[in-house]
C-alpha cells in the first residue's frame, strides 16, 4: 500500500475499497440518511470533513498515542471534530442540522472513521492519511448519493426535493421505509460485487485488520476468532 502513488490512495476509496459497498462500514448512517438526496449528500460531506481532519490529527499523533489506549484517544479526537462540524452546521445551516438530527452526532461512532484511523492513519504519514480520508469520504458520499437517488426517485417520486412528473404519482413508498433501505443496500452490494468479479478483482481480504473491535476481541480470546474459524473450515474441507 505504501508504494502506491498518491492518486491511487484517493481513488481506491471510490470503488475498489468503497467503504460502504466493499468494506461494508458505516451501515447505520447509510440506511438512515438515504431517504433523500440532500440529506445523504450533506451527511457524506460532513463525514468526509471529519474523516480528513481526524485522519490528519491521528496520523500526526500516531507515535505519541500509547497502543493500549489508542481507541479512546481516537474517539476523543473524532468526537472533537464532530462537535466542530455540528456547531458550525447549527450556526450556518440550521435546516440541514434539523434534517440530519441525531445522525450528525453519530458520525463520532461511524465505523468508517474509526476504521480508517485504525487501518490507515495510525500507520501512514499525515499527507497520505489526509488523502485516504478524502478518498474514503468521497467514496462514502458517492455510495450515499447512489442509494438516496434510487430510494428518493422511486420511493418518493422526487430528486433532491424536486418532484418528478410521472414518478410522483407512481411512488413505491416501501423504498423510503427501512426494509426498502436494506433491499437497495443489498442490491447495490450485489451489483458492485458483480462488477468486481467481472473485472477479475477480488474484494480485499480484511480479516481482523479492518475491525475496530479487533483489539478488544484479540485481548479477550487471545486470537482472532474469524481466522480460526476459516482455518477450521479449511481443515474440514
Amino acid at each position: 500500500m505504501e508504494k502506491n502513488s498518491k492518486l491511487s490512495i484517493i481513488t481506491k476509496g471510490f470503488f475498489k475499497e468503497n467503504p460502504v459497498f466493499v468494506l461494508v462500514l458505516g451501515t447505520c448512517p447509510t440506511l438512515a440518511t438515504t431517504t433523500g438526496v440532500i440529506g445523504a449528500v450533506s451527511m457524506g460531506l460532513a463525514a468526509t470533513a471529519v474523516l480528513i481532519c481526524s485522519n490528519l490529527v491521528i496520523s500526526l499523533l500516531r507515535k505519541l498515542i500509547p497502543d493500549k489506549v489508542r481507541i479512546p484517544c481516537y474517539i476523543v479526537i473524532i468526537a472533537g471534530f464532530v462537535t466542530i462540524v455540528q456547531m458550525l452546521m447549527h450556526a450556518f445551516l440550521p435546516d440541514l442540522y434539523e434534517l440530519l438530527g441525531v445522525y450528525l452526532a453519530l458520525i463520532t461512532v461511524n465505523c468508517i472513521i474509526l476504521g480508517r484511523a485504525e487501518m490507515f492513519a495510525s500507520k501512514n504519514s499525515p499527507v497520505d492519511s489526509m488523502l485516504d480520508g478524502l478518498g474514503m469520504g468521497i467514496g462514502f458520499t458517492i455510495a450515499l448519493f447512489l442509494m438516496a437517488t434510487i430510494r428518493e426517485v422511486f420511493g418518493a417520486g422526487a430528486f433532491a426535493g424536486i418532484e418528478i412528473p410521472f414518478l410522483k404519482d407512481h411512488t413505491i413508498s416501501f423504498l423510503v421505509q427501512s426494509p426498502g433501505g436494506f433491499l437497495v443496500f443489498g442490491l447495490l452490494i450485489a451489483i458492485v460485487t458483480l462488477i468486481m468479479n467481472a473485472q477479475g478483482k477480488k474484494a480485499p481480504e480484511l480479516g481482523c485488520a479492518g475491525c475496530p473491535a479487533a483489539a478488544v476481541c484479540n485481548a479477550a480470546s487471545g486470537k482472532c476468532p474469524e481466522k480460526e474459524e476459516k482455518k477450521g473450515e479449511a481443515e474440514n474441507a
Binding site: 411512488t171 413505491i172 413508498s173 416501501f174
Partner: protein, 325 residues
C-alpha cells in the same frame, strides 16, 4: 440388443413434475378466481392478467439476463402471479400489481436462486410489499361506493370491533360509527368486500380439498392454521358465531391452503407442518386483536417462512443407524 436396462437408483418414479404440481395448484385456484371475478366484476380479470403476465415476463427476462435455464415453462411463475393477483383488491391500480409481481419473481425468487431456493413465499412477500407501499393509496385513488371499494371486513378500521346485532355482524370503529356489515352466509359465499380470491370461502375449501385429494399438499398446515385461528378467536370473543366470522373474514383460508403450503418455504415433516400452522394461527390472531394492523395472515406466514429451517431441524427424524442432522 439392449434388452437389459441398467440404471442407477431410484427405480421407482413418481410421475409428478414441477409442471404437473403447479398445474394442480392452478386448477385448485380456479374456483376462487372465477368466484372473485363474478363477485367483483371484470376489473379483477385485468388485475389477474397483469399479475400473471408480469410474473411470467419478469421470470423470462431474469433468466435470460442471469444466464439461467429457462424455467418459465414449469408454471411456477403463473402460480405466483395468480396468487399475488387474487390476494389484492380488484380496484388495485395495475402498475402496482405489476410492481408486486416483478418484486416477487425477481427479488424474492430469482435473486435467491430460482424455484425451490426462495427464502419466503414470493406471492406473500409481493403482497406485503404492495400492502406496505400502496395500502392507503389504493383506497384514496379509487373511491368507489359498492362492495368492491369496501376493504376486507377486518381492514375497515384498525380499531373497529365486530359485534352482533340482529344476526349480522356489524363493524364499529372506536367512535361507535358503523363501518361495515356482513353476515355468516355472505362470509361463506364471499359476497363481501375483500381481495379477489380471499373472500369466497367455499371455493377456497373446494380448491383445498382438490389439492389434498391429489396429494399436492397435506392437510396438516391448513387444518392446524384454520383451527388455531378459530379456537383463539373463540377464546377471545366467547361467541361461537363471531369466532366463525373472524375465521372466514380476511385471508385465513387462502393463506392456510395456498400460501402456507409452499414446498420450499414450509417444513417438510408432518409435525413441522402442524407447528408451522399453529404458529401462523397464533401470530395471525395476535396481530388481529392486539396489533395495530387489521390483518395478520401474510405477516404470520412470512415470519414462519423465516423460521422454517429451524422447525425442520427440530422435527427431523434420525435415520436408522445415522446421525441426527
Amino acid at each position: 440388443m439392449n434388452r437389459l436396462n441398467i440404471s442407477v437408483s431410484p427405480h421407482f418414479h413418481a410421475k409428478a413434475t414441477t409442471q404437473s404440481i403447479m398445474l394442480d395448484v392452478i386448477i385448485a385456484l380456479l374456483p376462487t378466481t372465477i368466484a372473485g371475478v363474478w363477485i367483483y366484476g371484470y376489473r379483477s380479470l385485468a388485475v389477474i392478467a397483469t399479475g400473471v403476465g408480469f410474473a411470467m415476463i419478469s421470470e423470462m427476462i431474469f433468466n435470460a439476463v442471469a444466464k439461467k435455464p429457462r424455467t418459465v415453462g414449469d408454471m411456477s411463475a403463473v402460480v405466483t402471479g395468480l396468487l399475488l393477483a387474487i390476494s389484492v383488491h380488484s380496484n388495485m391500480p395495475l402498475w402496482q400489481v405489476a410492481v408486486g409481481a416483478i418484486f416477487a419473481i425477481v427479488i424474492v425468487k430469482g435473486v435467491f436462486g430460482g424455484i425451490g431456493q426462495n427464502f419466503a413465499n414470493p406471492a406473500i412477500t409481493g403482497r406485503l410489499l404492495m400492502a406496505v407501499s400502496f395500502g392507503t393509496m389504493a383506497k384514496a385513488a379509487f373511491p368507489v361506493a359498492d362492495t368492491v371499494s369496501k376493504a376486507t371486513p377486518l381492514a375497515v378500521l384498525e380499531n373497529s370491533k365486530m359485534i352482533v346485532e340482529g344476526g349480522s355482524y356489524i363493524l364499529k370503529n372506536w367512535k361507535g360509527e358503523i363501518t361495515g356489515q356482513t353476515d355468516l352466509l355472505s362470509l361463506f359465499l364471499g359476497t363481501r368486500g375483500g381481495a379477489i380470491g380471499e373472500s369466497c370461502t367455499v371455493a377456497l375449501i373446494i380448491g383445498g380439498i382438490y389439492l389434498i385429494a391429489r396429494k399436492v399438499i397435506t392437510w396438516h398446515t391448513p387444518v392446524s392454521f384454520i383451527l388455531t385461528v378459530f379456537v383463539l378467536s373463540l377464546i377471545y370473543t366467547k361467541d361461537f358465531n363471531l369466532a366463525l366470522a373472524y375465521t372466514m373474514a380476511g385471508g385465513v383460508f387462502i393463506g392456510a391452503i395456498f400460501m402456507a403450503t409452499d414446498y420450499a418455504t414450509t417444513p417438510y415433516r408432518p409435525l413441522g407442518k402442524v407447528i408451522f400452522g399453529v404458529c401462523c394461527g397464533v401470530i395471525t390472531v395476535i396481530i388481529r386483536f392486539w396489533g395495530n394492523l387489521p390483518e395478520g395472515v401474510s405477516f404470520s406466514i412470512l415470519f414462519m417462512n423465516l423460521l422454517t429451517p429451524y422447525i425442520d431441524k427440530w422435527t427431523s427424524k434420525k435415520p436408522f443407524g445415522g446421525e441426527k442432522i
